[in-house]
């Protein structure tokens, strides 16, 4: 089956720093109501790690900082011991950019990464 789209770009050692600068410049201090080009990347990140659950009629590919995204960020900040602000502050963006394990933080009923052996 086709692999689900992972939110991050394929980076190399030389492009990592440039991408991080782009990321901070673009999204720092975005909050509910903001419209920022590329914000859909953030939405895909939070969906991938289980914070933004799939809902009917919810458009994950737009760039609007809406209520579900704010809720996802609140959960993320709370879960990872960050200051709970609901916006993309510096510490939250730094955490989002940090290398990490691919296992989702909030597991849905049947994700592949916690499949048991059958």
């Amino acid at each position: 089956r086709p692999a689900p789209e992972f939110p991050w770009k394929q980076l190399t050692e030389t492009t990592v720093n440039n991408y991080h600068h782009y990321f901070y410049n673009r999204f720092l201090n975005s909050r509910r109501g903001s419209h920022v080009s590329g914000l859909s990347e953030i939405k895909r990140y939070f969906r991938y790690f289980g914070y933004l659950t799939p809902q009917a009629h919810y458009n994950i590919s737009d760039d609007i900082f809406d209520a579900p995204l704010e809720s996802a960020i609140l959960h993320y900040q709370s879960k990872l011991g960050l200051q709970v602000t609901g916006k993309l502050d510096f510490d939250t963006l730094t955490q989002v950019l940090s290398p990490r394990c691919g296992v989702p933080d909030k597991l849905q009923p049947s994700p592949t990464l916690h499949a048991t052996k059958n």
Binding site: A3, P4, F6, P99, C101, V103
Partner: protein
């Protein structure tokens, strides 16, 4: 500490032995096989010291309980890797035993030797992923090895009280383990 939904664990009689093997077709060559094996041996020993579970390298990869391999991009499990940094590795909850690392990372066993700014400590990632293989999900405790992120060039290989309490509630305690010994080793390390 947090468990996976349904609290899965290896359902064998305690004390148990789990075998692990390295995929002969999916290894990296930037580190020697002996360095890779040593990093994993140390990582498994961290968990074995606190629970009545013994980890032994299998002679035959095909029959190993835990199957370790380095993969690039889409490698067939629906969870593609993403190149340098981003996602470093993933593994599956009990009793799958699949342990996958992103071959695109600059894996390191010694930061004195590996100077890259994006180097990732192999043993630290191994300790974390073994936690998943045993049944622990991500912890919100920043000092725990089961916290989901790890910075480049960071080393985090010591189990925290949170990690130990979590895994011991699944498997019980290693009879040779006491929390006072953990405290003593912490004091020793801090000195």
């Amino acid at each position: 500490y947090v468990f996976f939904p349904g609290k899965p664990r290896w359902a064998r009689r305690i004390p148990m032995t789990l075998t692990y093997g390295f995929s002969p077709d999916n290894m990296i060559h930037s580190l020697s096989l002996s360095d890779i094996k040593e990093a994993f041996k140390l990582a498994f020993s961290k968990w074995a010291s606190v629970i009545p579970v013994n980890f032994v390298e299998a002679d035959d990869y095909g029959f190993a309980d835990i199957k370790i391999g380095f993969y690039s991009g889409d490698h067939g499990d629906g969870e593609p890797f993403d190149g340098v940094l981003g996602i470093l590795a993933h593994s599956f909850s009990p009793e799958s035993g699949k342990f996958h690392l992103d071959a695109a990372e600059t894996w390191a066993v010694d930061f004195e030797v590996e100077k890259s700014s994006v180097a990732v400590d192999l043993e630290s990632v191994a300790v974390h992923e073994i936690g998943h293989l045993l049944g622990l999900s991500h912890s919100p405790v920043k000092g725990a090895v089961m916290y989901p992120s790890l910075k480049p060039r960071e080393k985090k290989v010591e189990l925290s009280v949170d990690d130990i309490q979590g895994v011991q509630s699944l498997y019980g305690s290693n009879p040779n383990f006491t929390f006072s010994s953990l405290l003593e080793s912490d004091i020793s390390a801090n000195r």
